[in-house]
Symmetry: C2
Subunit: 336 residues, 2 copies
């Protein structure tokens, strides 16, 4: 079923793109070289043409050119677990010598025993306790340091590389291509804002003020020498997921995006919100269907949920579904 819809989308967008191709010769492979030249690549090129060409009826002035990218599963690998969750588990292990009691205390005991079965069935409350312990009680600067230290040593279990190596090369090309066309590029992640800020500038060229994420509260306080700092406290201000994404976008940007990239049901509202903008718009969903080179999530995946209904909405709304298998020539920078 999914395959059939994807195919019909491909046919639909091939038609559109052949029209676009008649208007302007698109340099290839200089632009988006990691993309196969199918409907997805052509959709991106057509969007940039429509939004930036002053004679286009869908032209958008530069200050309104906003593009938003979900992170996990859209910009980098999210299987078998979100990187931020692995970070939290590793932090628990690092902190354990000062917490004898955790050996016999759920949910910490399961983490210390590497009980994968239990860990993968943690409840919302378990996860909240883990996040409270690992994501608060330190200053923002200290937290960034912890994340950077972790990223420097942690390796992905399957690819055996740092998580920041597992950024999708085709998406990095889109981020840069949009930026070179006057777009302000934002990360809009359900993950923590400060977690992503610790590396977003280095990895994606996205500065901290362009990272929208789930937001925890901070408390202003003074060190003994009077230096002020902001301490992360275990209270949530905004969950930047599902209907929270348009709210987070409005809070941080105050404009509707023209382009939005996601990969799961958590991105649905962000894509709807984008589509309601004036001028050219582009809504894309990365569909993980490549078990050989990356992952094929399938309908039972707990992460990156992509239900039949989302595929239907994409088809009805003119959103472009990116098939990793068909659309991406290579996935990572280290691929040939």
């Amino acid at each position: 079923m999914i395959k059939r819809i994807t195919l019909s989308l491909v046919v639909f967008f091939l038609c559109i793109s052949s029209l676009a191709a008649q208007n302007q010769a698109v340099p290839y492979p200089e632009i988006l070289p990691s993309w196969n030249d199918g409907a997805a690549r052509q959709g991106i090129l057509k969007f940039v043409m429509d939004s930036t060409n002053e004679s286009s009826p869908q032209f958008v002035s530069p200050e309104k050119r906003i593009a938003v990218f979900d992170q996990d599963g859209t910009l980098w690998v999210e299987q078998p677990m979100y990187a931020q969750f692995v970070f939290a588990l590793d932090r628990i292990k690092e902190m354990a010598p000062n917490h004898e009691e955790w050996k016999s205390q759920a949910p910490f005991s399961a983490i210390l025993r590497d009980d994968v079965e239990k860990i993968s069935n943690f409840t919302k409350e378990d996860i909240e306790r883990i996040l409270a312990v690992t994501h608060s009680g330190m200053s923002i600067d200290e937290f960034h340091g912890m994340v950077r230290n972790w990223l420097a040593t942690a390796k992905h279990p399957r690819f055996n590389r740092p998580y920041t190596d597992l950024v999708y090369e085709p998406m990095l090309e889109v981020v840069k291509y949009l930026r070179s066309n006057g777009f302000k590029t934002y990360i809009v992640t359900g993950g923590g804002q400060e977690f992503a800020r610790a590396y977003a500038e280095k990895v994606y060229g996205i500065p901290p003020e362009q990272v929208v994420g789930s937001i925890g509260k901070t408390q202003y306080s003074y060190a003994r020498d009077g230096t002020p700092s902001l301490i992360k406290i275990p209270k949530v201000l905004l969950i930047n997921d599902k209907a929270g994404k348009p709210a987070g976008i409005n809070l941080m940007i105050g404009r509707r995006p023209l382009a939005a990239f996601g990969n799961s049901a958590g991105d649905k509202e962000m894509l709807e919100w984008t589509q309601a903008s004036k001028g050219a718009t582009l809504m894309m969903l990365v569909h993980h269907d490549d078990a050989q080179r990356e992952y094929s999530y399938g309908p039972n995946s707990k992460i990156g949920i992509f239900p039949e209904a989302l595929m239907k909405q994409a088809e009805n709304s003119g959103w472009i579904v990116i098939s990793i298998k068909n659309d991406w020539k290579r996935i990572f920078s280290f691929d040939n």
Copy 2:
């Protein structure tokens, strides 16, 4: 006492500025022409020299050049009442025909009777009720429309001009001067984020993503035709005042500012937070001491509170106090 401290600050900064002047001839009056050439003007020029001159030990790379401006009393007139509060009162009057019950219901009855005495003694709860009624229940776009309509007709009781005419010309010059030196300029107001966004781009050249303010919650919902919108609901996410200002700055910017401009005790933490940055910093407080051309607040003002302790902290910390009387050649664009 205040005068004595201001004088000693003037002497101090005249010394600094005479040093700076030796290094580089400062064009005058092309830069900051509405400023008298005293300690305040020279402090701004020195800061820009130090932060942008690559050979300066306090040089700061462009992406880190952030300047933050309080709004009420710093960028525009805040006496005798905050513009946003006048907007709320006018909205109540406009809505009254559909609310017969308000005629006998506090706090609305006092507004409808123009009972200045009662209005100026409204409790926090009164104000919250007024804000709930006037600042929620509509979409963000509708709210912006209401603010713009109000600004187009409302006039300030003393100056008899639109509120947006009552922006301080010297501060507008600073905003533009910093921007022309690669600074990203932000409004950081205790007032509502969406209120300021309705006009910030037009009035200050500050885009919506650079407006940090008190933030209300929004709810994602669909119109009958399926179009999504964000509805303002009467719940507060962040009060962007006092210790809330560094928190709001961190949330929206994720970097410490290099320059901060305020005018009251509500800006103290923002200035401290700025001063703790690396590289050149500039902390300034507008001191309203000009009853003839604008206002002289005095120690009993309910708005723009500027206690003795703040003046002392400014002196001890090297913050620059701007005396409107002495430092501003003209205040508004319509002044000669």
